[in-house]
Amino acid sequence: MEVRPRLETGLVRQIEEDPERIIGVFVRTARPPDRQQQQVLADAGLQVGAVVGDIVSGRLRACDAVRVAELEFVRRLELSREVPVPPLPRVQ
């Protein structure tokens, strides 16, 4: 099974750069995951944050993203990015 198309490009880059880093991800599943599938995701290394329909947010080691992508019911993984807090004004 080819898992690369299931991984967002930026996520692949993250895996390559620092595979041990804990990152946030979004996982699209074939259908809203039941408890058993959520357990399978957890067993693959995903700490589930929220399940929103067929999208699951969570945290994992970057290298575990491939294991999650290999799951039969997983369709896509995208990196959860860090959004900067808008900077506050400074006196120069």
Partner: protein, 919 residues
Amino acid sequence: VRSLRSGWLLGVLLCVAASAAGAQQPAFDPLLRMLLRPEVRQTVEAALRAEPLALPRDRALGGGVALDAEGPMGTARVGVFVKLRTPAALAELRAAGAEIGVVAGDIASARVPLAAVPALSAAVGIERVEAALVVERSNELAASLVRADRVRDLVGNAWQGFAGQGIVVGIYDTGLDYLHEDFRTGEGQTRLFGLWDQTLGGTPPMGFAGGHLCDVASLDARICPQRDNNGHGTHVAGSAAGGGRAAANRHAGIAPAADLLIVKGGEATFAEDRIINGIAWIFAEAERRGRPAVVNLSLGSQFGPHDGTRLYEQAIDNLSGPGRIVVTSSGNDGANASAGVIPPLIHGMATPAAGVAQTFVFNVPQYSPQPGAGANHLRISFWYAGADRLTIAIVRPDGSTVTAVYGQETLGASPLGGIYIDNASAGPAPENGDHEAFILIENLVGSGPPMVGPWTIRVTPEAVAAGRPYHFWFFANSINARGVQGFTNSHLVSSPGTARRTIAVGAYVQRLQWLSTDGNTYSFQVPDEAVGDIAQFSSGGPTRDGRLKPEITAPGRVVVSSLSGHASVPTPLIVPGGRHWVLQGTSMAAPMVAGGVALLLQRAPSLTPENVQQILSTASIRDQFVARTYVTGDPGGIPNFTWGHGKLDVEAAIQAAAIFARASILAVTAAPVEHPAPPTTQRGSRLALLRLNLTADGPEALDVNTLGFRLFGQDPGARLLVVCEPEGSTVACPADPVLGAVAAPLQPDDSIAVLVPLALRIPAGQTVAVVAALEMSGAAPHQASFRAAFLPTETRATGVETGQPSPLRQPAGPVQSPEVEATLLQPEELFALSENPVRSSRVVFNFRSAPTLAAVFTVSGRQVVDLLPLLEGEARIVWNLTNQQGTALAAGIYLVVFRIEDRLVREKLIIARPTGGRD
């Protein structure tokens, strides 16, 4: 001249007034001392006259001091309270040009010309002068501009009208100063339902991982360890739902009576997956409490395809729904009205033509490289149609080039800046079928930081099939790179503002200057920006797939709101009173709309995001500025990609939301009309059968269109009337109480269903009592029985504002009258007796009209009783067969004499029963 610059303070901060270190004036309120200085008076006076956005009367440029000006050339005045040593001091005030208001003992209120303020300090008859503060509700500019102040009222300590009562406002941001008075009740209790700090260790909310949840008890006890050290979140929360208590309600938010759920997502960054967790928790917690909720996200990123297909965006769409709305800022990457200002252009686009190379130039200005791999970076998100094949090249200022053809991943290390391009190496993205090229220009391992100078992005289409433009965005930019050729001011709404179900908000200018707590007046000087126009930084749309974004705009430059006590804030940004400060950005505009959406949910709790989008499309302020668009390629008109549908108009939006509101319920209680004695009636008279109480139970008035009944009886010419009854009604009955009438041809041994069309409007929450009565035609037999039953299934009512059919809450069980046996006079009859001979203990006389004489005589002509005092109403006398002294009459023959309609009528009456008495 002082200056402030940052990505948010996009201009030069000018000190236009000197420090207010005037001579000490012990008799003067400190708030007024600055007005002793002529240059301050001059500045304030000029500001009062120049401010183009007129408030009704008082202005608040002086730290809450009441100021006004009578037009551009008129006298500027300040409101004061004066304590008089002697009554003669009033003359001194008048001599100084003051308008005396009220004199109460030794205290007088007055409006004093600014020029006369120094004279007050020398008035020997005055003991003390205090500033009159502006304490009116919602006097802060933004609430007035978005017309929130027209839909709410502050009565005592309670907000009335549309102020967000019963609605949850959720804020995902840098936290909240939950001790701030703006987030406390009048009794000092928290207005929060909970606060989840995702950055702390502790006890997370049930069902979620990470962070620490502060419940109401810990917030009330002030032991929640969360702090808003940044200040952004507290400012945002104050604009959306600040209660205003910290400054006499002057800086109240748009939904000051809403309840709050707060998530602190970080100090410097927010992780998108945790944002999703935060939204999910807010909606779940609100639902647990049975509340609709709106979540504000004053944050965004330029990463992604800008078409709403990121899983992050789709997750927000999935979380949204009826009574669950997400509002976002549109972003601060705009370059609107920017003549003379270097535009921070970060977006490029072009429609590819096969074989024709297209170039885009951006400049890397001088900068100080930071240590660490990747610390000096420009990262680009590039998207093009799945059917196309593009070759992408990055050219350094020295001409060296790194190229990636379609499907290729390329790394070009260099001391002049590393370049990495992944040009759709994994094929089209499954979420939208398009290609993503991921480009990094940075000090990658083995490379130096990007060199200063002009860089080029060269795009060469190898195959073009779609005819759709490609786009790219700088989504991370630590080296301040700016597009200078081929870049456009469009498609800049950030993610998740590009999601399909979020409400993205742009910002316009509401003020250019403010008075700081240090006594100086500051402004952000941008020469070509006018009050009322779009803010220069406000990101315009559309989305890459062509949808309108932003949907709406709101005040975002310069906004005064709540100040976190834990934030380190430059003093010039703090306004007098010390509890509020100024910021600008679409971050400040979004919570205005979030607060507005809270009011819409108060009106219609089940609004969907699409409903809100529709409401905003029809209810907005469209002034002369809104027709201007600054977005590249925008055809113009309204809506447009700069303003969306225009400026937020809370009042109009609430009215427009009415069509989505749930119709009120028509609640009906019913009971038969009691008839103590068999009634008498005749042509044109009415026989009441059922009494109904009709209540508009809900937020809107109801039009009752039809009431249905089933009738039994015998009168082929009868009509059924529905008559308003004052008794039991909470509103006045109309002058003509007959609300509806319909023919009711009653035949013996049969029943008919009749539907009475009504002209009845019941105000929300009010009750109208009605009686269903038969109007007799005279065609009935002398004695007849009638009965009526209420038919709930045939009853119809409509919401006045929604136009929707109103559900019926019907009485429990069937409601019908008992069988009413009535005496019906024939047309020629003037009266009738209940029986003759009389064998019971009483006799009932029913008259066609009220008699003017009614008496009983013996056959010898002696009057034994005057019956006229016994007349009930106009047409009925019940006599218990006693004489004038109350003694029962003996059996025998008597004469009853009546004068009816000027006719004298005699009737022989036989009392047949033995009574034992004698006359």
